[in-house]
Structure formats: structure tokens, C-alpha cells
């Protein structure tokens, strides 16, 4: 796996005047990984990327690429290529000139450049369009040209700053798989920035979730989704029902939470919080909409039951989103797979919801992602 060049951020701080854009980031990215930074707008993702590519000097800490400290090495000397948030294609150059710009500055001949451009144009499925100007391309085509241009520089590390954000949904999904394919083909390290969790989860080997300059969690998509380290990650990545309360009892890796409105709820303590949670602490319990289900006629003994009334129901193709109201006006969302029949939950009906405690997590109370 680790044939490529790794990137390490060590105690990285970046400040703009008094404003701290990145706070003590420690990240180890393996060579050949597809690594994503995921976070809301303005949390410092671009700032980290600029520090890696050399446009920003860290206020403190180090950036290592392939084990070498990059301090004092300019962007044009680093083995990185950045795909900019706005793509930054050169508007006055033709597509093929854009793609082979990195060869031009090294003094490659026009014939060589033409040849390489044709190869890359084939790869991005834009054969024969090399003589267009960037302004004559569609959004998705520009996107692919930007990727080709970066790949043409043969970087060890490709940095991508939300490259798909400007595309419509269909194209975005298509480009996701395409990017992933390209990455597996060329085998270099990709550092990918996005505020779209779907993108991060489907493409990445590892994800770092950021909140206001702080990296809350680094892990695989599964870890981040199923075992969020902080309430922020739990609420930012995917949808979650949150229940607040105090820890009532701890037994092994599980805890029983005395919630404010819903009574006692059991959940798995998230790995990051093991040993940090004590009886009586303020805590938050998260359970995914798809982990909830209405109980049938018989209630399993070891499962918690949450009584709730159906407020509304939305059809979403492969599933139904059911919005319910629990005790004390507590809002709850449940997701039911669409199996071709009418859902059991019709508007106004009273249901008992239950879940498997292993599919819910509890952790010390903290800040949620504001949405």
C-alpha cells in the first residue's frame, strides 16, 4: 500500500493575525492513500491544503512530505499539485497548453507536449478537444482538464480543494467514481477536501473531520460514521438523533443514559470516550434514523422502547423518512426502507421505537454541528 509519498502534519498552527485558522493539527497520511478533510465551510480546510502546497507558511509546527521538512521550500519546488477550488485554468491558453503547462516551464518541446496532452485527454475522455479554450468547456470538462493538468506535473501528492462542488449531482457522482479510479490507477497520494460527507465517505481511505480549525477525528469512513469521536462529528457526518442526559450507569463498553425527556437509554461508549465517561457526567447519545425501527407486537426484553407519535412522513425513493414526536415534544427522525408496501407508520399513529444498543453511541456532551 504505502508505495507512494506520505504527508505528515506535526503540531501545525496557522494564524492570520489574532485569528487561529488551524489549531494544533497532527495528521499522518500514508503514501498512496485517498485522504479527505471533511468540515463545514470556513473551518480551515483550504488553509491546511495551502500549507501543504507551500502557499502559506505554518505559524508553528511542520509539514513533512515523504519525510522531508518542507519549511522554506516554495510551492514550485514541492512534489505536490493542487487542484484549486475554482480550478484556476489559464483562460488564455488552449486546453492542451493548460494541461502541459508544467512541461512547458521545464522546456519540453511542443511535439512532446502535444503527445502527452493527447494521452491525458484520452484518459479524461476529452479526445480531440485539446484546441478549445477553457471557456468553451462545460463545468465537468473543465474539472477533468484541471485534473489532467495536475497529473501532467507527475506530483507525488495531489491536493484537491472541493473540486466537485460546482457540479450538479449526477456529474458529481460520476466524477467521484472517476476520481477514485484515477487515484487507484496512478497510485499517488490524494488529499481531498470537501464539505460533502457523502463524497468523503465514498471515496476516502481515511477521513479527518474538522471543526473551526480543530481536527476532531481521523479514521476510516466506517469509524467516523459509526463511532464518531465527538458530538460534532456525530451530528456533522450523516444524520443523527441526539438525546441529552446524564450517565446513569456504566457497564463494560456500554453506558445507560438518564435522558431529560425519554427516560433511560442504553448505548455503546464511543471508543474515543472510553475511560473518560463517569457516572453523573453530562453526556449525549446518538442513534441514526436507520437504526431505529418500530417494534412489532412483542417487545424484545433487552431493548429500550421509545414511544412516539408520527408527525409526518416523506417518501425518498429507496426509503421513507418518518418524523416523530417523542415524550416532551422531543423530535425524532426514523428512516424505513421502502420495500414496496405502504409503511407501517402512517400519520398520527402511535409507535414504539426501538434500536440495538450496539448501533448507538454515547459520549461526553459537547458542541453540535449547527445546521
Amino acid at each position: 500500500m504505502s508505495v507512494g509519498v506520505g504527508v505528515n502534519l506535526e503540531n501545525l498552527w496557522i494564524r492570520f493575525g489574532d485569528f487561529v485558522a488551524v489549531r494544533n493539527a497532527n495528521v499522518n497520511i500514508n503514501g498512496g492513500d485517498f485522504f479527505s478533510f471533511l468540515g463545514p465551510s470556513g473551518c480551515g480546510k483550504t488553509t491546511i491544503l495551502r500549507a501543504v502546497s507551500g502557499f502559506l507558511d505554518p505559524s508553528e509546527g511542520r509539514v513533512l512530505i515523504g519525510g522531508n521538512d518542507m519549511a522554506g521550500i516554495g510551492p514550485n519546488k514541492r512534489p505536490t499539485a493542487l487542484i484549486f477550488q475554482n480550478l484556476a485554468l489559464f483562460p488564455l491558453m488552449k486546453v492542451w497548453e493548460n494541461i502541459t503547462f508544467s512541461m512547458e516551464v521545464k522546456g519540453a518541446s511542443t511535439a512532446e507536449r502535444r503527445k502527452r496532452a493527447d494521452e491525458l485527454l484520452d484518459m479524461i475522455a476529452l479526445e480531440g478537444q485539446g484546441d478549445k479554450l477553457p471557456s468553451e468547456l462545460s463545468g465537468g470538462q473543465k474539472q477533468r482538464v484541471a485534473i489532467a493538468r495536475a497529473l501532467c506535473a507527475e506530483p507525488d501528492v495531489l491536493l484537491l480543494d472541493e473540486p466537485l462542488s460546482a457540479l450538479d449531482l449526477k456529474l458529481r457522482q460520476h466524477m467521484r467514481t472517476e476520481l477514485r479510479e484515477i487515484q487507484q490507477r496512478v497510485g499517488i497520494t490524494f488529499i481531498y477536501i470537501t464539505h460533502d460527507q457523502g463524497e468523503a465517505l465514498t471515496m476516502s481511505d481515511n477521513v479527518a473531520v474538522m471543526r473551526a480549525g480543530v481536527i476532531d477525528q481521523i479514521g476510516t469512513g466506517h469509524e467516523v460514521y459509526d463511532r464518531p469521536a465527538t458530538p460534532f462529528v456525530a451530528s456533522f457526518v450523516g444524520e443523527n438523533n441526539v438525546f441529552r442526559g446524564k450517565v446513569h450507569e456504566i457497564s463494560g463498553t456500554q453506558a445507560l443514559l438518564e435522558t431529560n425527556r425519554t427516560g433511560l437509554l442504553r448505548a455503546e461508549i464511543t471508543p474515543a470516550a472510553i475511560g473518560k465517561l463517569n457516572v453523573g457526567d453530562d453526556a449525549m447519545m446518538f442513534v441514526r434514523p436507520e437504526a431505529l425501527a418500530p417494534v412489532g407486537a412483542t417487545v424484545p426484553e433487552d431493548k429500550t422502547v421509545i414511544p412516539a407519535t408520527v408527525l409526518n412522513e416523506e417518501f425518498e425513493g429507496n426509503s421513507y423518512s418518518v418524523f416523530l414526536e417523542g415524550a416532551g415534544g422531543k423530535e425524532i427522525k426514523m428512516s424505513l426502507p421502502n420495500l414496496g408496501q405502504d409503511p407501517e407508520a402512517s400519520k398520527g399513529s402511535e409507535l414504539s421505537l426501538t434500536y440495538d444498543a450496539r448501533n448507538a453511541v454515547v459520549m461526553p456532551a459537547g458542541e453540535l454541528a449547527s445546521e
Binding site: 502557499f55 516554495g74 514550485n76 493542487l82 484556476a88 488564455l92 503547462f101 508544467s102
Partner: protein, 425 residues
């Protein structure tokens, strides 16, 4: 309906008045270049002639002025475009808090009167050469050097304004992208920023050249031994002008029109090629016109106007207004004779009346010499008409075009020749 009609009429009237006001003087002046009358005028139209172009191209001072103006213009373009570009680039780099102050300082020369800039340039470089010693004097007291420096002080500011406007639309991300792809800073500048600035550089260069070419205020203090065209023209006007100035104006106007048309034709052609390329169909030539001309009115006008000018050149070789001039001369002499005759009649009448009314001896004696003398000279002139006049002409304006003096028939009586006479002296 009605109001829109009135509005349209008003608009057309406005446009006519506006363009008349704007272009009328140029048009009239251009016309005067083809009138053989010695003073630039169109209303007593004498003869259609190209002779003023000959006069113009034989006028060493004007030609020398044009040469100096062009040299100084080129120097000013080089200096002020590079200074303006540097200033504009610094503006984007400079610490934001200092930016507005910097901007004010840089554009201040535009607000300072050109006269002041001229004087201060002269004084400043004189001090510098004093300081550096006499060996630098030849260079620092050189009119071309001083004029280029003096003009560039404010023309560079104009250039900077052009560059700043363009730079504001530049995405600095492009430079970063170039660096990221391995370009050095120089390469990023040369391959990314400079091509982006090219249109602005072209317009700043044209602007700088024109501003330099037409500058008088600053140049008048700095030109030394290298008078520019404006300086020469101003000096000429002081001693009276002839239509060779109009000929120069006509040439300049034509060059401007040709440049504008060529530019427009080129732009349209490029645009149409682009459109055709995007649609993927090659441009077809029209049924009659070659492809460059189809749907390109500017190009058509350009070609037509070129034909007109070429025809003018061609006819100018063989065209001889001599006959016409002789006729005009004769007409004028006839007219003069008529007037003189009338005058004599009048005087005669007066004398008769005076005699009749019995004016005292004192009064009569004052009138008498004038009356007796005045008719005497014109009479002979009128009598010998065709024979006498040419000699008369040659003696009044020997330095000016001898063969081009139909107005000379008015001899010493009328203003234009008077002027020309002085001019010749």
C-alpha cells in the same frame, strides 16, 4: 406611439448636433487642405488642389517636428508603460493599509499642471547634471531625454490607471496555479500575467503615444534643440498659417480612421472565425465577397476608403489645377478691376459733390491728393491686368509657392496675402 416618434427625432437631432460639434471642425479643416486659397478656408472655394501636401512635405520644420515627436513618443511609451505597469503591480502587492496613500501619490502627477511638471523637470535635471558634473551635461540637457522624462511623469500615471483596471480582474490564483505546476516567478509573470495584461499594455501604449504626441504644456519647457510637432505648429500659428497645416490634419484624421477601421475589421473577423470554429463549420465565402469581407462592414469600408485614397494619390500625379487657377486669377483680377472702377466712380462722385457744395479750400485740399492718387495706381493695374499681375504676385510672396498664388490677385489689398507675405519674410 407619438412620444416614441418625437423621442426618436430628438435622438437623431441630438446625434447630428453632437457629431457635428465633435467632427465638424475636423471635417472643415480637412476640406481646406484641398482648396487652393492661401488661407485655410472653404467658403470662397477657389480650386481643388493637392499643392498643400507638396508644401507640407517640403516644410523641413514640420517634418523635423514630426520626427522628433515620434522619437519622443516612442521613448515615452517605453518609459511610461513600464513605469505604469510596475506601479500597478506594486499597488496589488503593497500592504493594504498603505494602498490608498500609495495610489494618491502615484496619480498626483495627473492633477499637477503640465506647465509645472515641465519647469520642475527642467530644474531638477539641471540640478542633477550640476551635481554629477559637466560630463553628464550633453545627456541630461538633451531635449529628447528631458521631454521623455517630463512627459512620462504624468503619462505613466495614466498608464497605471489602465493597468490597475485590468489587474483588478486578474485572478491571483492563476499565478499560484502556475507556481504550483513548477513555474518560477519569472515564468509565471511572463506566461500568465503578461499575456493577461497584453490588451491593457497595447491600449496604454497607444494612449501614451497620443498623449505624448499632442503634449505642449510640458514639452514647451523641455524640448531644447528638438522641437516637437506641437511646438512647431504653435510657432507657425504665431506667424500665420497656410493650408499645409490642414493637409497635415487631413493625413492624421485619415490615419486615425484607417487604424480604427482596421482594428474593428480585424476584431470582427476574429470573432466570426471563433464563432465558426465553435459551431464546427468552416466559414463560407459570400456569393460576391471573399470570406474576410462577408458580414464585416468595417472591412468593407476600409477597402472602399483605401480605393478612394489610392485614387486620390493616382490623380494627384497627373492632376493640374493650373487652368482653374488661371481662371480664378482672371476672375479675381476682373473683380478687383471692377471694384477699383467702382471706387474710382465713387471718388469721382465725391469730388464732384465737393466741388458743387463749395467746400472751402482747406477742406478740399485734404481730400484732393488722396483722390487723385488712389485712382491712378489701380487704373494702371486694371488696365494692364494679365500682364502686370503675375510679376506683382511674385514680388509680394517670393518665398511661398510662386505658382500657387491665385489669392495674390488681391495684391496688397486683402488680408490672406498679407499674412502669407509676412510668412514668406
Amino acid at each position: 406611439m407619438k412620444s416614441s416618434f418625437i423621442g426618436r427625432v430628438a435622438l437623431v437631432a441630438y446625434l447630428v448636433i453632437f457629431f457635428g460639434y465633435l467632427l465638424g471642425p475636423l471635417f472643415v479643416m480637412s476640406m481646406t487642405a484641398f482648396n487652393s486659397s492661401a488661407f485655410p478656408s472653404i467658403s470662397p472655394w477657389a480650386c481643388y488642389t493637392y499643392e498643400w501636401f507638396d508644401v507640407l512635405f517640403k516644410d523641413e520644420r514640420i517634418l523635423n517636428g514630426i520626427r522628433n515627436s515620434v522619437i519622443i513618443g516612442i521613448g515615452t511609451v517605453i518609459l511610461s508603460v513600464s513605469m505604469g505597469l510596475a506601479a500597478a503591480l506594486v499597488l496589488t502587492q503593497v500592504w493594504p493599509k498603505f494602498r490608498s496613500t500609495y495610489y494618491t501619490i502615484i496619480i498626483a502627477p495627473i492633477l499637477i499642471p503640465g506647465v509645472v511638471l515641465g519647469i520642475s523637470t527642467l530644474v531638477f535635471w539641471d540640478r542633477v547634471s550640476n551635481f554629477l558634473g559637466p560630463s553628464t551635461e550633453a545627456f541630461l540637457h538633451n531635449g529628447i531625454f528631458l521631454t521623455v522624462l517630463g512627459q512620462s511623469t504624468f503619462i505613466a500615471s495614466y498608464a497605471m490607471l489602465v493597468f490597475v483596471a485590468r489587474l483588478q480582474r486578474f485572478d491571483p490564483g492563476l499565478t499560484e496555479a502556475a507556481l504550483d505546476l513548477g513555474a518560477t516567478h519569472t515564468q509565471a509573470f511572463r506566461k500568465i500575467l503578461l499575456p493577461f495584461m497584453r490588451p491593457a499594455i497595447a491600449s496604454a501604449a497607444v494612449l501614451a503615444f497620443l498623449a505624448s504626441f499632442e503634449n505642449y504644456n510640458t514639452t514647451t519647457f523641455t524640448f531644447g534643440n528638438y522641437p516637437t510637432l506641437t511646438i512647431e505648429l504653435a510657432q507657425k500659428v504665431r506667424y500665420g498659417i497656410n493650408p499645409s497645416i490642414s493637409a497635415l490634419a487631413f493625413i492624421i484624421v485619415m490615419l486615425t480612421i484607417f487604424a480604427a477601421l482596421a482594428n474593428e475589421a480585424y476584431r470582427r473577423n476574429k470573432q466570426r472565425n471563433e464563432d465558426a470554429r465553435l459551431k464546427g463549420v468552416p466559414r463560407k465565402a459570400g456569393r460576391v465577397l471573399p470570406s474576410f469581407l462577408t458580414g464585416n462592414p468595417a472591412a468593407i469600408i476600409f477597402v472602399l476608403l483605401s480605393f478612394v485614397v489610392i485614387t486620390m494619390f493616382w490623380t494627384a500625379q497627373s492632376y493640374d489645377p493650373g487652368e482653374c487657377k488661371a481662371r480664378v486669377l482672371a476672375e479675381k483680377q476682373a473683380l478687383a478691376a471692377e471694384r477699383i472702377e467702382a471706387l474710382r466712380q465713387q471718388r469721382f462722385q465725391q469730388r464732384l459733390e465737393a466741388a458743387h457744395s463749395g467746400v472751402d479750400i482747406f477742406g478740399r485740399s485734404t481730400v484732393d491728393p488722396t483722390v487723385t492718387e488712389a485712382p491712378a495706381a489701380p487704373e494702371s493695374n486694371g488696365a494692364f491686368g494679365g500682364v502686370f499681375a503675375p510679376t506683382n504676385l511674385n514680388s509680394t510672396a517670393p518665398a511661398a509657392e510662386p505658382e500657387s498664388n491665385p489669392g495674390g490677385a488681391f495684391g496688397g489689398v486683402f488680408a490672406p496675402t498679407n499674412l502669407q507675405g509676412t510668412d514668406g519674410n
